[in-house]
Amino acid sequence: MKRYIAPFADGGAFAVDREIAERLLAIALSKGGDYADLFFEYEVTGSYFYEDGILKSAGRGVSAGLGVRVRKGDATGYAYTEDLRFEAMRRAAEVARSIADGGQSLTVPLAPCELPSRYQADHSTIEIDGERKRDLLRRAAEKARLLDPRIVRVEASFSESYRAIRIATSDGRWLWDEQPLFRFGVRVIAEKNNVRRSGSSGGGGRMGLEYFNEKTPEWHAEEAVRQALVMLDAREAPAGEMEVVLGPGDSGILLHEAVGHGLEADFNRKKTSNYSGRIGEQVASPLCTVVDDATIPQARGSIDVDDEGMVPGRVVLIERGVLRGYMHDRHSSEFFKLPPTGNGRRESFRSHPMPRMTNTLLLPGEDSPEDIIRSVKRGIYARKFGGGQVDISNGDFVFSLTESYLIEDGKLTAPLRDVNLIGNGPDIMCKVTMLGNDFALSDGVWTCGKEGQSVPVGVGCPTVKIRAMTVGGTGR
């Protein structure tokens, strides 16, 4: 028997059926709103943290509630409640409806919608015994500790969530989705002659523990240790503009910052993005085709349905360097009179949806990664990343490298200390001169923040060469 059941699900303590939802939607629209939706969410989280050779702490979180949204023109009223008794839900609908101040508007009867199946709820780790998660952490920690005497600290963590959502919209959609997710990580510190360096490795996705059949805890331990040991010999990164080669996979963070955020349609509806009004224009090198793809099975950024009831697919953002489209939520798609792309996401029932990325990918080119590195006289090769940020209005973006190497005469030479790269989105995308045939998707670790809301995302790309980018080191 399942231990965690959404209270609003059929058979739950506060089961919500179509009739109740229709009544609430009618209340939400009774002041003349144009559109309303109900977002019921139940989320159970788990966290397990292993260090000092023991499972040091374990945690559980349960959160459930209803968010009610009412739109009138460009204005949105939003309210939520954690109390799922009808009276409390009615009050939330009344608070949200006060954004409008007119008369009655109509709702249509709710009808269930077909959804794709990009992950399976019965693979959620949440119902699995804690002992098995503790064993995975112990395996990673033991492996890392024994690999090398210079490893002085080992931490391993497992965090998981099970999210069940029920959506009812005033245009008649009635949906249910269950979203499993977990993330595993190892972090180590190596020490030599009083110099300390860290290394880490992690992964996961919308799947069960079968993930570890392919990528074992020991594999992540070895990867974290490898990085920490390499970094013990790292030297100062250079400063100034130079050629930059980004390795496959996680360097998709480049697209996320340089292109992705600027193509979220809310910024373009408001004309505050430097990509506003540029559909059809060349905004990147002709080598570049960029898509946002929510359909990749079991990937961290994939979803069957967005948080306002639309089914996302694969949106082409840039095709051979030409800007083709934006990522939309319902509001922006109405504004641009375009079909919604299913990118309306929210952190929880406590937040309103907005256009967000899912898995953002730069499609592969034809160069071999070896040729790309060989073509560089003096530059930087980036392998692991700490995170990035972008200023939407002017397009300036940064991302930080936690494992990178100097390239000299076509060969990787010295490892470099942590360094930040900075560039301007369209400018850097136009400077992509070579693209590898080695596309990889990031393993599931990334979380994207926007206006205080966090959502899980994926990135992916092949080896990329950028003709010139500013490297923020301290060396000469």
């Binding site: 559980r60 979180g61 130079m242």
Partner: protein
Amino acid sequence: MTGKAYTPSFRPTQRPKEVSELFELADALVRLVRKLGADVAEAVLSEGRHLSAKVRLGEPELVEEASSRSIGVRAMIRDGGGGFRVAVSVSSDLTEAGISRLAEDVVELARLAEVDPFAGPPDQALFSSEEYHPELDLFDPSIDSIDAREAIGSAKAVEKVALGVDPRINNSEGAEFSRASGITVLVTSEGFRGWNCGTHASLWVAPVADDQGGKKQSASAWTSSRHRLGLRSTEEVGKEAAQRTLAKLGARKVNTTECPVIFEREAGGSLIGAFAGCVLGGAIWRKSSYLVDRLNTVVASPLVTIIDDPLILRGLGSRAFDGEGLLSRRNFIVEEGRLRTYLLDSYSARKLGMRSTGSASRSSSGGVSASTSNFILLPGSMTPEELIAQTERGFLVTEMMGFGFNPVTGDFSRGASGFWIEKGRKAFPVSEVTISGNLDQMLQSIDAIANDLDLQSSIAAPTFRIASMMVAGSGDFSRDIGE
């Protein structure tokens, strides 16, 4: 800390009525968790209300209003050989069934966790009691009465000011007013009971102007306070946002160079925040800080004194007692350049063989770790204008971007924008460059601190200057800046 002395007074006897109800729920949870087999149970309950109104180009865009509650618990099971097994759990479900589920979960997880010889509740003798909790004036009862209409009005007003300053400002990211209030109670099976309540209001605006080459520029200004009357005026905030936005027009890269770097208040606060993360007990015993084994050594220039002070009246990070129930106290972290203490909760103190500094913070989920309260670089005596005027050539940083800081090594490398300084004056706006150095060396080479500290955030610094950093922009290092 703008030179104003404070005198903690004592709390008025009147409690908000919700406090007793929250205490009852907390007591019930503590009893239940103990009954299920835990030796120590600590319950934290909070209740909050908030309203926010965002407008854009004069029209309401989003009005959000809600109240919420959460109940969190930490359970410990004693081991015969010393030490405890520890788990935490949190829920938004305050029904009887929800609380039972929470209690069962936390005890089951505590059994799964393994014995930690350093875990345990704090020494009971250190608990503070309610009558000694200072009144810090963190609650403004009028905040909750601000309704959507008034909130929309404030946001509209500040945006109107910003848009009216100059015709080059032709768009807006919007303006937002928000208010929040909350009550938290903490009850532990070892005998601590405490409550606190606080309010917060803020106003923010970000106008947009067109720049060359299809770029736009935008900068924001904001004000925040515990009290409604502590907010700066819409006039002042709107004008500041407009001026900051206009000043960015025409920003460009500079050539890669080494030069003095001045950090404006907000950017400086972010740098001091990176330092704060390196003095927390958890970072120290985990060897995840460059400040391991550095107590009583020089970590900054003699100009630098940094305090962590939870007792500032109306402070955004103020609290009467810490997350474990210990009385709050002011800690001198860095005194004239020397590191005097780390910030410790009782766990990290035991790990390091030291004593708690009363710096425990308890999250709503029940977990405890050392954390900052009001973490402040104390001001110097010159004005920021004088500091700039004394800089022959350098880079004034107003904004930073990205996460380029490694606490283990102190390596710092972040995106930055601001102004190029030539002969003591702002010469032109700069963007798309990085600044880099090692935080250890950077703090030791602070050679001037201004007097413009304000306490609009809980980690705060006045404008200050670092004698030399690498600024990477166009070209290689070999070419110096040349205009």
